[in-house]
């Protein structure tokens, strides 16, 4: 069991890091032959950095588009961020101060994720426009994320597991010498689902995360008259 999960996560890590790097390299190497920034396009690189920051942190464009999607989307993503930060306690020893401080908030993050996912899923099922554009994989993405968040909360609240053992497993895994993993079903489901998420990341719409940074309508500077945009073309 321990070896299986350790191997699964090594594979997932390789696929995730390698896959994202492969796509990112492809995006970076594909030429952007013309200037196509969308209004309101900043005139400077600094302005573009700020615009990106607003997109990443506030989901600015989505906020303009649809308050409900924004609300649920934002809840989910920032819940996820809190939860990920909370998980740092499994790999840091001693646990960093701010990670320890964040622990209670991290739990709320788990609930925020679930609320966000529920809202997004409801939109996908109830709004006829969004239903029309949904394919099975869109539902499965939501199901997978809900399974990860739900099983994580289940481990926390219902089927407690040996936290110290998990931490030993995680730190051991990082050092290529994983310690025994507790064989609790909820925990194993949580880990398996998380591994699956990393495995499909580079070949799925989860690539939207790195994709944003390469989006020419968002990352280009509006200076086409002042500076000649003359990239090498394939």
């Amino acid at each position: 069991m321990t070896n299986f999960f350790a191997a699964l996560f090594y594979l997932a890590a390789v696929v995730f890091i390698g896959g994202v790097a492969w796509r990112a390299r492809l995006y970076a190497r594909t030429p952007a032959p013309l200037k196509i920034p969308t209004t309101p396009a900043p005139f400077t690189r600094g302005g573009v950095a700020l615009r990106m920051l607003r997109e990443v942190v506030l989901f600015e464009s989505l906020f303009k588009a649809s308050r409900w999607t924004w609300l649920f989307g934002w809840l989910f993503h920032f819940g996820l961020l809190l939860v990920l930060l909370r998980h740092l306690r499994y790999v840091t020893d001693p646990v960093w101060g701010w990670v320890a401080w964040l622990q209670p908030a991290g739990v709320y993050g788990g609930f925020a994720m679930l609320i966000g996912l529920a809202g997004l899923w409801a939109r996908r099922l109830l709004v006829d426009r969004v239903r029309y554009i949904s394919s099975p994989s869109d539902h499965l993405h939501l199901a997978l994320l809900a399974a990860i968040a739900g099983s994580g909360l289940a481990v926390k609240y219902f089927w407690h597991t040996d936290i110290v053992a998990i931490k030993n497993f995680a730190r051991g895994w990082l050092a290529f010498a994983p310690a025994p993993l507790p064989a609790d079903p909820a925990l194993l489901a949580h880990l398996a689902a998380a591994a699956l998420l990393f495995l499909i990341f580079p070949i799925s719409k989860l690539m939207h995360a790195p994709g944003l940074f390469f989006s020419p309508t968002r990352n280009q500077v509006d200076d086409s008259r002042a500076r000649r945009h003359a990239p090498a073309v394939n």
């Binding site: 594909t30 030429p31 952007a32 200037k35 070949i203 719409k205």
Partner: protein, 498 residues
């Protein structure tokens, strides 16, 4: 007027329609004849190996456009863009939701170029490329005006216009081009403008215009053509040479130049600002069309290039000219190259070089239609949002009564007129009428609330489109005016008077 389709009902506040699948599946423009395809280097009819050719073309486009590659991968189907397209709002056809429009191409992309689509097509909505798919592409990639409204709202900036351009380019490359756009591009290559107006005819038109305007204005307003050594080369849409209300805009530019004492000229070689190469997604044709401007500017030895009222032309000029036909190191570095006519007029107003009799417009209440390409793909004046500020400043400088339409129908959120992107053709009139709905609703509101009498625009396509579709909504087509018509009518030409 008795159309064979239902005209959408103008309701305020506007409502998002429930989806009606297939509502516009029948809408498709005429296919280009073999000769017009071949003139542009495309095959004359559907080639035998269209399947492989289309996929090869798709691969080539993916490899040469980061935008297309990133957009194909990044959509999360959040639906934020779904209710943002005027064609969806006006037709309720779900394939006119920007994301669904992208998906027509994305489904094939996934099938042939992604792991998931190759092995589990049903899971990710991947489909085989069939002739039916080509037909669907042809229908729905000609129901997008490439206005980029969706791109403003997408959390990843996915620009459906880029996808539409790719779709059209693939179609043309396997032999299914659009008649309207391809014929026009051919005419520009041959003659120099969209209308196919030859140099002697143009010279004659301009002479007559000069006579008429000078007589009316009581001042020698010239419309110079091919004048060597002029300060400014004006490149304007060819509709400005004839049609109402376009020509009143041209008269306005001429009066501004006259009053400011700036020498200027039109060119018979580059007698067109429009560049339909943009619409069909072809960089090569866009460059070839634009090249005429560079050649004319060099030939005539001008110091500045100014672009007249035309939305997509300004996008091409502002965003692409420097890349396609630059550098403009032969022009006067004290001015941006190129400049928009609004930038010229605005600057002159700012410097006190123009004065107006605003009372001439006191019988009017004006509103302003932001053209999509100006709004979302360009700037004016080098200030943030200048493309919205300058035209309004100019209107306020020459008219006493101006009101804006509601916020989600102007500025960066402006709705396309419904006829942009190569759709301004009679074979698409149903689409054009329906696509104009959001603009008609916003206009209705300011008419009811503020007694608006006129809507000014700075785009030849917008003006023609409104002239055509407004009667369907029982608006008077004369409500549409060129911005520089307002300028020209109120401008005091006599230098001594003020």
């Amino acid at each position: 007027m008795k159309p064979e389709f239902t005209i959408p009902v103008v309701i305020n506040p506007p409502q998002t329609p429930a989806v009606r699948a297939g509502a516009m599946a029948h809408s498709r423009p005429f296919v280009a004849k073999a000769e017009h395809q071949q003139a542009l280097g495309f095959p004359g009819e559907l080639v035998d190996d269209w399947h492989d050719k289309a996929l090869a073309k798709m691969k080539q486009l993916l490899d040469s456009s980061r935008a297309l590659q990133v957009f194909m991968d990044s959509c999360v189907k959040c639906g934020a863009c779904a209710d943002k397209c005027h064609y969806f709002l006006g037709t309720a056809d779900p394939n006119n939701m920007p994301v669904a429009r992208q998906d027509l191409l994305r489904a094939v992309y996934r099938r042939y170029f992604t792991f998931a689509g190759r092995w589990l097509p049903w899971l990710v909505g991947a489909v085989d490329l069939t002739e039916d798919v080509l037909r669907e592409w042809y229908a729905y990639y000609h129901q997008c005006s490439e206005c980029r409204r969706c791109s403003v709202y997408c959390p990843f900036g996915i620009d459906t216009a880029e996808v539409t351009m790719a779709g059209r380019e693939i179609l043309a490359s396997v032999g299914i081009g659009q008649k309207y756009s391809n014929e026009i591009i051919g005419k520009v290559h041959d003659i120099g403008n969209n209308l196919g107006l030859k140099p002697p005819a143009l010279a004659h038109t301009l002479e007559e215009l000069a006579e008429e305007v000078s007589e009316d204005a009581g001042a020698p307003v010239a419309f110079p053509l091919d004048e060597n050594g002029a300060e400014i080369l004006l490149v304007t849409p060819s509709a400005d040479f004839f049609a109402e209300p376009h020509v009143d805009g041209l008269i306005g530019y001429a009066k501004v130049f006259h009053r400011a004492g700036i020498s200027w000229t039109l060119s018979s070689h580059a007698s067109e600002a429009a560049n339909f190469g943009l619409f069909v997604g072809s960089h090569a044709h866009m460059k070839k069309v634009a090249e005429r401007v560079r050649e004319a500017a060099l030939e005539l030895g001008v110091k500045r290039i100014v672009v007249g009222e035309c939305g997509h032309a300004w996008r091409v000029a502002y965003s692409y000219w420097n890349t396609l036909i630059g550098p403009f190191d032969f022009l006067d570095p004290n001015y941006p190259a190129p400049q928009h006519i609004c930038e010229v007029t605005h600057d002159l107003i700012h410097r006190g070089a123009l004065s107006f009799d605003k009372s001439i417009h006191d019988d009017k209440v004006i509103t302003f239609h932001d053209s999509c390409n100006v709004a979302r793909a360009s700037n004016m004046g080098g200030v943030p949002g200048g493309q919205f500020i300058l035209p309004r400043d100019i209107i306020r400088a020459c008219c006493n009564h101006f009101v804006d339409m509601r916020d989600d129908a102007i500025g960066e959120a402006t709705y396309c007129c419904g006829g942009g992107g190569g759709l301004l053709t009679d074979d698409l009139v149903e689409l054009r009428v329906k696509g104009a709905l959001p603009r008609m609703q916003a206009l209705r509101e300011v008419i009811d609330e503020h007694g608006v009498t006129h809507m000014a625009a700075i785009c030849a396509i917008c003006k023609s489109q409104f002239g055509k579709v407004m009667p369907y909504y029982e608006f008077d087509m004369d409500m549409v005016v060129s911005l520089h018509q307002l300028v020209g009518d109120a401008l005091i030409l006599d230098r001594g008077a003020h």
